[in-house]
Amino acid sequence: MVLMKMKFPFEKRMKLAQGLWLLSWIATLAGAFTFTLGCFLKTELRRRAEVMDNTEIHAVPNTLMIVGLASLGINYFAGRMCQDALDAGRFPRWKTFLQPYWGVSLLFTLLMLTTVIMSYAMKGNLEWSLKIGLKNGIRFYKDTDTPGRCFQKQTIDRLQMEFQCCGNTDFKDWFEVQWISNRYLDFSSKEVKDRVKSNVDGRYLFDGVPFSCCNPSSPRPCIQDRLTNNSAHYNYEHQTEELNIYIRGCREALVNYYMGLMNTIGAAVLSIFLVQSSVLVSLRYLQTAMEAVAGQENTEIETEGYLLEKGVKETIMEYVTPVLVFLQLNQVGSEDAEAGETPAK
């Protein structure tokens, strides 16, 4: 039983070939666009690579780039094939090419869909990577004299100013870390000695945040130190004060930014997926309609086009059976070998 049979008179075949040719060019442009989107996303991820612990999230833009390039090739050949479809004599030479072509194009079209799913599924991965990366960034903020870490301070400061955030989860992360280097602490003063003694690790901890946490929209000049001490500042209550420093944590800010980016890209890739699928469906109809014409004297007869010659189940069985036979042969072969060995002993 054939899947989705359609009748194709000569004019309809011609129209299908012409429409498909135009569609394949649009799909080629869409493929190039997908590649650009992948490049853009990769660049954005690389810009903040210093606050990310691992690069697993880069799988999304990498796949997008591969899919974009592949769809350029797929749609180029689709265009060539439907150009030849207008001439019944030239179409049969594509016959041997079509089997691997369908395999490759179905694979990459499904990969396009998987990319969109991946971009949503890897949110947790991204968040985890940012959590560790930001924790290290805040820890190494003071190490401006250590090679390899001397730009952490500048990176974190610029990040906090640009994304309007403070700390990892929130601003209190700065209270748990010594973010002033020992080079700038006067160890002979009482205050420093008290603070250093007050915790096990001997760190200089205090309830202050760097200047990059300051919110320019605040009506009053920024209060950076003694944040939790209401009496240290005139007319100040830290429980109700919202505009003084950024309350949001940088992890949340960055995750929102990247998820927003990936949502937009995902929507674009979904529409490109629809275009690509319609190209493949039309090409399949054109192929089956033209195959019926091959060998006939009158090339202008009406033919039938279909998606699958047999039903879905039967087609799957058709492809899976050789694989099963191959596996069974292996099994039978190994049994024989064992049976052959044991009598020999």
Binding site: Q154, S181, P210, P216, S217, P219, R220, P221, C222, Y234
Partner: protein
């Protein structure tokens, strides 16, 4: 003796017309580019108009926008003329208009040169506007509760962070004004009373700068308060410390930003002028070569084209004579009218 005479046969005429038509299309795109540059410049000026007291002159960007639109119009018309020149019947329609059109092209090119010159010169008035505007902006930094000025703090903070600058001329401008609002000063504290008592106007002045002056590239956490007091901070010498806060003043920063923009736009307008002059010369050749067909009935005969019919000197004296004749004609008419009036 004509200026730069060239012989043209039919093929050469056709090639010339096609080439000039193509160049006119490039000129239309160049006109669009000038228009968009003018628009971009206008938007950039408006973005920072608070720093200029809302007093800045928009003459140059408006002129750029007008010139861009005019260039599009003139070049489109020139392109149409060139396109029609390949067909003798259509060209004869345009013939009477061509001389005034070319004269207006000359005037337009002079306008373009003037625009480019103004772009380069606009730096000077901008400097004065910015000096005045920034001084007031710093004064109104603390007025976050006054309607009309409540966003000055945010604008100034964001500008200092973006342009990496501090204060008007330099960071010391912040020492001379009160940038902390009275709402956040405890007037019962001794320190506040001392500071207010220490100057004539009763302003709370201190040697401190806002957080937006801080340089993220500094290896140590930002020192904003007691900037000139070496003993207040461990291992700190404000004379040698240059990474702590931005040293540059915002006026310099904004001038170099806008100056760079205006220089590029001026250079672009000069390039567009050169392109316009080339197409104008091309159109003149098309015009003269088609007007001077030896045999008007035969389109395939040879003809000559030139830029000016006589030499530059002779053309100039001709124009002067014509203008004198016109003004004399006016004078004779007036004398005649007067004579008639007095006579009667």
């Amino acid at each position: 003796m004509a200026l730069m005479k060239v012989k043209f046969d039919l093929k050469k005429r056709v090639k010339l017309a096609q080439f000039v038509w193509l160049m006119y299309w490039f000129s239309v795109m160049a006109g669009v580019l000038v228009f968009s540059m003018g628009l971009f410049f206008k938007i950039e000026l408006r973005k920072r108009s608070e720093m200029m007291d809302n007093n800045e002159s928009h003459f140059v960007p408006n002129l750029l926008i007008g010139v861009g639109l005019l260039a599009c119009g003139i070049n489109a018309m020139g392109g149409k003329i060139c396109y029609d020149s390949l067909d003798p019947s259509k060209f004869s329609r345009w013939k009477p208009m061509l001389k005034p059109f070319l004269v207006s092209c000359v005037a337009f090119n002079c306008l373009l040169v003037l625009t480019a010159l103004l772009c380069f010169l606009m730096r000077i008035p901008l400097q004065f506007t910015l000096a005045e505007g920034l001084k007031n902006a710093l004064k109104f930094y603390k007025d976050t509760d006054t309607p009309g000025r409540c966003y000055m703090k945010r604008t100034l903070d964001q500008m200092q962070m973006e342009f990496r600058c501090c204060g008007n001329n330099n960071f010391r401008d912040w020492f001379e004004i009160q940038w902390v609002s009275n709402r956040y000063l405890d007037f019962s504290a001794k320190e506040v009373k001392d500071r207010i008592g220490s100057n004539v106007d009763g302003k709370y002045l201190m040697d401190a700068v806002p957080f937006s002056c801080c340089n993220p590239g500094s290896p140590r956490p930002c020192i904003q308060y007691q900037v000139t007091n070496n003993t207040a901070h461990y291992s700190y010498d404000h004379h040698t410390e240059d990474l702590n806060i931005w040293k540059r003043g915002c006026r310099d920063a904004l001038i170099s930003y806008y100056g760079g923009m205006m220089n590029s736009i001026g250079a672009l307008v000069l390039l567009v002028t050169i392109l316009e002059v080339i197409v104008m010369i091309g159109l003149q050749y098309v015009n003269t070569s088609l007007s001077n067909l030896a045999n008007p009935e035969d389109p395939e005969c040879e003809s000559e084209g030139w830029i000016l019919e006589k030499t530059v000197k002779e053309t100039f004296t001709d124009i002067m004579d014509k203008m004198k004749a016109m003004s004399k004609g006016n004078a004779v008419d007036e004398a005649g009218v007067d004579g008639v009036a007095t006579g009667s």
